[in-house]
């Protein structure tokens, strides 16, 4: 479980997050949604510790992350996997080297154990036979799958995904969504996904937090969203005429 308690963040006098309190459950795919510039990426990066919050606390399974020193944070970070928007794979390393890096740095596994673990993770994301390729030789979907494999290689307890479907076609997006959800259930991870892909919201949104102008505006599940009367949320989720008609039919 990850909990944010009244967190706020400003950049050069501009408030980006304003008194946000939210809890993300273990074993569920938790989604943060919102318009571009609403503060959802800042929220995700604050939760993971890439931004220090100005006020408020962040808890990882009741351990106050914001109060921890550099070394203690480092210990928690080893339990964190993160999938970045562009994949953030190391350009100078092959697929295998990218996935293997955390094992090299933080485990005392033998060569054979490392090889087996990397093979397992690559098979888990259905990416066999591409381990010798460099990131520049991969398609967008493959990059995301390598990023997932790298994120899960150390058996993380927390998984963060920053717009995992950006730049992908709808079919590949579904594959990535399903993969993240499967991994979340299989390893009982606390997964937080930052997205504005409405297919993801409807398919895997077990818990959804809507961020609007730096505030937590709405919270619920993918089923609740269809029934919600929140005007800002409806404007965002059902932006197109077709989506509005779909909602009225669903109601």
């Amino acid at each position: 479980m990850i909990r944010a308690d009244h967190i706020s963040k400003t950049f050069e006098g501009r408030t980006v997050l304003d008194d946000i309190s939210v809890e993300f459950d273990t074993g569920k795919t938790n989604l943060i949604i919102g318009r571009s510039g609403s503060g959802k990426t800042v929220l995700l990066k604050s939760l993971v510790g890439l931004h220090d919050v100005d006020s408020g606390k962040i808890f990882y399974d009741n351990v106050c992350y914001t109060d921890l020193g550099f070394k203690e944070r480092k210990m928690i970070r080893k339990d964190i996997g993160m999938i970045f928007q562009g994949g953030a794979l190391l350009d100078s390393s092959t697929v295998r080297e990218n996935v293997r890096l955390p094992l090299d740095l933080f485990t005392d596994m033998t060569e054979g154990e490392k090889r087996d673990r990397v093979n397992f993770c690559l098979e888990r994301v259905r990416l066999v036979g591409a381990d010798h390729l460099y990131p520049s030789e991969l398609s967008g979907g493959m990059v995301k799958r390598v990023a997932i494999a790298r994120a899960i290689v150390l058996n993380p307890r927390y998984l963060f995904c920053d717009e995992p479907n950006s730049g992908l076609d709808p079919q590949t997006s579904v594959v990535i969504d399903n993969l993240i959800q499967e991994i979340t259930k299989e390893f009982n991870i606390t997964t937080i996904i930052n997205t504005h892909d409405m297919n993801s919201v409807m398919e895997i949104g077990e818990k959804i937090v809507y961020i609007h102008e730096g505030h937590k505006w709405w919270e619920g599940s993918n089923n609740d969203i269809l029934q919600s009367d929140n005007p800002e949320l409806n404007d965002f989720v059902f932006a197109s005429a077709m989506a509005k008609r779909a909602k009225s039919v669903a109601k």
Partner: protein, 247 residues
Amino acid sequence: MIKLFENIGRYFMLLRKVFSRPEKKSIYARRVSFEIEALGFNSISLTAIISAFIGAVVALQMAITLESPFIPKFMIGYATREVMVLEFSSTVVALILAGKVGSNIASEIGTMRITEQIDALEIMGVNSASYLILPKIIATIIFFPILTLFSIVVGIVGGFVIAYCTGMMLTGDYVEGLFYCFEPFSVTYALVKGAVFAFIITSISAYCGYYAKGNSLEVGRASTLAVVASSVTIMIFDLILTQIMRV
């Protein structure tokens, strides 16, 4: 001015992070050998070409300038050696490498910053500054003095070849000049300068890349800034080291 002090402060804070204890020494050792190849071996041909031509040009210029019956011909070899050892092979080669290696480091690390590769390392719990920068610093500190030595040899050979080909002087005179009043400490001085300049180029360029933000334009700016800042710092330290070590 405040911005300058802010940058200097941030530079030293980054260095503190760079020199903190590495996660796993074996991984760093592997990265150092990779960087020696990427930053060192790949600079050999450029250093060789420039040093050979400069050595030849210096010898030629000396031959023209010192054309007097009162000045012995071996002075050409002597002057070529002094120019190569004292200034060219350490300082000028460092300035040239600031352009090649410095911009390479700044753009590589800058691109890693804007494509979130550095964030990814941080999230894994890796000290990204140490992991990315320390192997480059160690590699260049090891290899740049070797390049300096190589440049001295190639430059002197360049002078010898031009002396032989043009017939402007006897090669024996040139060789005699090379050993005339030779002070071995001057080579030590050149090697020390090579190592110090290697540190300056690598750390400043890495700093410029590490704090790049925004887009590819910013990476380009970081790269340019790295070359300019390294070059200016090299000149300042050239003055300081010359004063301290006085050959």
